[in-house]
Symmetry: C2
Subunit: 598 residues, 2 copies
């Protein structure tokens, strides 16, 4: 199977469905014109197909290897990394003053999809570096920025996030790594001691240095989550113009189900010298900057792997000849029909397609809002963008990875027994996709973030940023006969989401377990409804383009959009009804089961 | 994590919910009393926990290795196999005249659950031998039986099913392996030439010989599926009292996502001598005997892995301390609460529990019907049993493996990042479970079997064997106020299944693509409805036992059944509504998408 960058659909989602052209109107992003972005994507598309996908399967087979504190990435990773580094790809969204290309986050998000679809393990090394850059960019002093950002931008140094400890995963308040100020150091350094686990890209051979962003506790820190501070700790520190070891060493790497080309490390900090990033005891706030961006990128991973699986499954379904169509031979000149003639195979392919394109649309929306939130000249627009992105972040992370995993599995199912063998690459997509539901906060935690923090924030302001435009769209199109087949089911799902939200707000006030019991199903209901809105909007755009005379490949593209929108409404959206029913049953069926009876 | 055989729930499903005691009344099964069966299960439970589970993870890591035609199973497999062989476990359900223990299939099914839950890869070697035994038992001549059955029964020889060829998977009509009669052989042998792939247990080091049951084509055979015959081909054949090579050699083994301790082989037949089993050109009928039994066993695998995942997840959820309950600390003396206090974690555990126990009940029903179909003195009862088992086979195979995989994933999700590492064993359960949706006929094929063959068979007679008792139960209990919370939703789902069935019968006649488009969703609707019936029946039994004064552990057991039944009705059964909606949309959203637009 071969992965091809979905350039046409990226253009649709970012420039036809949403106003990607507005990026070039934002101060600082004048160069990010549609034409430039298109050529960036074309270039990365080539790299994805020709360089990254070919080392995806071999990277999985070989995995990372650990010896005496060093981690060796799989064959070909270093060469591919050098190619990307030299092309300036690592610093795509970094500031020009540090040597970056200064592209909007939106462009990084599109590029990230291509990276992840062709080689998730590889993409993680760059993703983590981007995350570390973002955390420093928002919270570090100019001095620290000057020290680290140019190196992270050019990709000669890499970054990590060191959060988890054996006893502290979801509950970071239990972090026990210590940071003690070094009184005799002029540069305000701290001595860091502790052990971090599950550190992605914690150690590898791609760069000359690695910059750890780490959560630790100051000597006088309050207990729990309010006593966590963030520090930057380089693996090698500069001393007298030379890089010397800084006591941050890799103790081992995990043997995992997937993303085997990405190292997952135990990192021991032994009197390592680090520097405070942001305010003391406010480390969680700083870390959230990194995590929110990371969560959106994880949502993109779900969509990327679904697309890779879709492309592989379509190729297999076209080539595999078995049996005959139920209504009689469709290709009588061949020994058998390709399995793509079968309704059940098409069901799987269309589910993958409807999800992938829906997710691309939702991602486009959120990505553009983030850029507006950071770069708009209008302060109100900035707040609006931030509100909507905050609301959508947990939905994108969890819904797009839960369904991304489901879709990767459908892709594998299309390939039958061949899909289960390593050779075909489909089973790797399933294994790689599985981590996306877990890392950067499990999907259960995302659901709690949505119902516990985002829904009620500022008296429902985040939520209104979503409800208002969606409602306005449905009301405006309610009389549009041509759109009715799309609007009617989508509007109905939206009504369910509104009712479930009201119910949650009321019940959750009385007993937080009501919100907890409903959270995961509510997040899915939100996802299905957001997709319904986007597919209805897509249908409208497609109809307009066709009415305006789109022809040739363009006409086929818009026709396919209408078919896929229909499939989504009729075959996928009905799940929202079941989710609504489940949500409304409340906490009792879950909480009344006696703990000891499990 | 440690797996413990679910002896109490097996007793409930087979002896309280269904009439397992009736087995001992069947001619030939007089010894299969509840007491004897209980002691059989206790003994196998010990072996599962102490012998088989400990080599499950190491077997996965090491996998099977191939060298010069030989396959080495992982460390410990041979010793474990010898232990089971010496204990007579391989021949548990084989006829006493061949040295078997003559137990009903039902007992084999229960034992199979324990084998698969503790070590699926290992269990496959025995399962395949049992399958080969069954095919010979039903179709071979006495001479062939006398030659092979005693060896298969004692487990000194193993069995396989050789169906698939590179160009012939789902579509066995494309099989091209050739069988030519050897004119000068007194024993009626055939010379077999061809290559089979995906042969489970095709080669290994557990037994001195391997008996292949293989599909091939006679020289004058009609084209397609009506020209397939079944042959038995030993790896080593007896000549002058010695075992000599018979030209059946292993060319390679597959590298797979899971069940790595089970060899999946390419077997080359090069002038191998084999013997016809059953009639010429009627091989598919003979093979179906083997496949139907195998399909039920695959359904059991789904349930078994779900139970193993459930047990592992419960242990993790009790031990993992993170954060606090949403309503305030439940274990204030500990640094944090165990995650089992969280609604979302309980949601996952209860889903797994409700599925596992529901699947055990459905399996018990089908298993007992099979024994009655084969051994009842009453010819009408035999037909009845066969009808119901035929109907339920595709449902059990596909529904229990689709949901089994979903549940294994929930178990992994409970364990978060630890679940993704090899160390915890949960990710192996996910990888192992994934094949069950594919082999023995993909789940899409099971769905076609259900709607295309089983529904209409004998003018709906199979279906009536299910609809009648289910309907009678609901009607009888309709006025039972204490049961209403269970009966009402289950009856409603049953109504949906009836309507969907009628719709399918009507539409499928007009256009088979209507049946094909609905098939997978219909099978799931059937599964959810069957489970609803079984959980309602379970609730009735539990209420009666409690009313009759059950106390202590028994009372707790029945109380838990009532809670789980409630959870199933309120939180899982709503999916049946969405499935009904999807089914009724018909073929259009699936078939009108242009093939070239994928």
């Amino acid at each position: 199977m071969e992965y091809k960058a979905p350039l046409r659909d990226l253009r649709f989602a970012y420039y036809e469905l949403f106003d990607g052209a507005s990026l070039a109107e934002l101060p600082g992003y004048e160069e990010a014109t549609p034409d430039l972005v298109e050529s960036v994507l074309e270039e990365m598309g080539k790299i994805a197909t020709e360089v990254l996908q070919p080392i995806n399967s071999t990277g999985d087979e070989e995995g990372c290897t650990f010896k005496d504190g060093d981690v060796k990435t799989p064959e070909g990773f270093k060469e591919a990394y050098d190619l990307l580094r030299e092309g300036g790809w690592v610093g795509l969204s970094c500031r020009p003053e540090y040597g970056g290309m200064g592209m909007p986050h939106t462009v990084n998000m599109m590029v990230s999809e291509l990276l992840c679809a062709s080689n998730l393990s590889f993409a993680m090394y760059i993703g983590l570096t981007n995350g570390a850059y973002a955390a420093l960019d928002h919270h570090a002093t100019d001095e620290l920025k000057d020290r680290f950002q140019p190196k992270l931008t050019e990709g000669s140094w890499a970054g990590t996030m060191c959060l988890t400890e054996p006893q502290a995963g979801t509950d970071l308040g239990l972090v026990s790594t210590k940071a003690v100020p070094i009184e005799d150091r002029a540069d305000g350094g701290y001595r860091i001691n502790g052990t971090k686990i599950f550190v992605s890209a914690g150690e590898h051979d791609l760069t000359e240095n690695i910059i750890h962003l780490i959560l630790a506790r100051l000597p006088d820190a309050p207990e729990g989550i309010k006593g966590i501070s963030m520090f930057v700790v380089p693996k090698l520190r500069e001393e007298d113009g030379k890089l010397v070891p800084n006591g941050a060493t890799c103790g081992s790497i995990e043997h995992k189900m997937g993303i085997k080309g990405s190292s997952t490390c135990v990192i021991n900090f032994d009197d390592s010298i680090g520097y405070l990033v942001g305010e003391a005891n406010k480390g969680m706030r700083a870390m959230f900057t990194m995590m929110n961006a990371a969560r959106l990128h994880v949502g993109v991973q779900g969509l990327a792997l679904s697309d890779a699986a879709y492309q592989g499954a379509v190729q297999f379904a076209r080539e595999r000849l078995q049996g005959r169509a139920l209504t009689g031979a469709k290709y009588p000149d061949q020994e058998a029909d390709p399995i793509i003639v079968h309704p059940d195979v098409r069901r799987m392919l269309l589910s993958m397609r409807a999800f992938t394109e829906g997710a691309r649309a939702l991602t486009a929306w959120a990505a553009l809002e983030i850029d507006h939130s950071e770069a708009s000249a209008d302060p109100e627009r900035r707040v609006e963008g931030d509100d909507l992105a905050s609301l959508l972040t947990p939905v994108i992370k969890a819904f797009q990875t839960d369904l991304g995993f489901e879709m990767a599995n459908l892709g594998m199912q299309v390939c039958g027994g061949y899909g289960y063998t390593h050779e075909y690459g489909m089973e790797q997509l399933v294994r790689d996709a599985r981590i996306t539901q877990i890392y950067e906060g499990t999907n259960g935690i995302q659901a709690l973030d949505l119902v516990g923090r985002k829904l009620g924030a500022h008296f429902g302001r985040y939520l209104r940023r979503f409800f208002h435009p969606v409602n306005a769209f449905f009301e405006a199109e309610a009389g549009n006969a041509e759109l009715e087949e799309f609007i009617a089911p989508a509007y109905k799902a939206f009504g369910r989401l509104q009712r479930a939200t009201a119910w949650l707000a009321e019940q959750g006030m009385k007993n937080p377990e009501e919100a907890g019991a409903a959270a995961s199903d509510y997040l899915h209901l939100f996802g299905y409804t957001a997709f319904a809105y986007l597919w209805a909007k897509t249908a409208k755009v497609a109809q307009e383009k066709l009415a305006a005379g789109a022809s040739g490949d363009d006409a086929k593209f818009y026709e396919a959009k209408l078919h896929t929108a229909r499939y989504y409404m009729q075959r996928m959206l009905p799940k929202s009804g079941a989710l609504f029913g489940t949500i409304m049953t409340g906490r009792k069926p879950i909480m009344e089961f006696p703990e000891e009876a499990f």
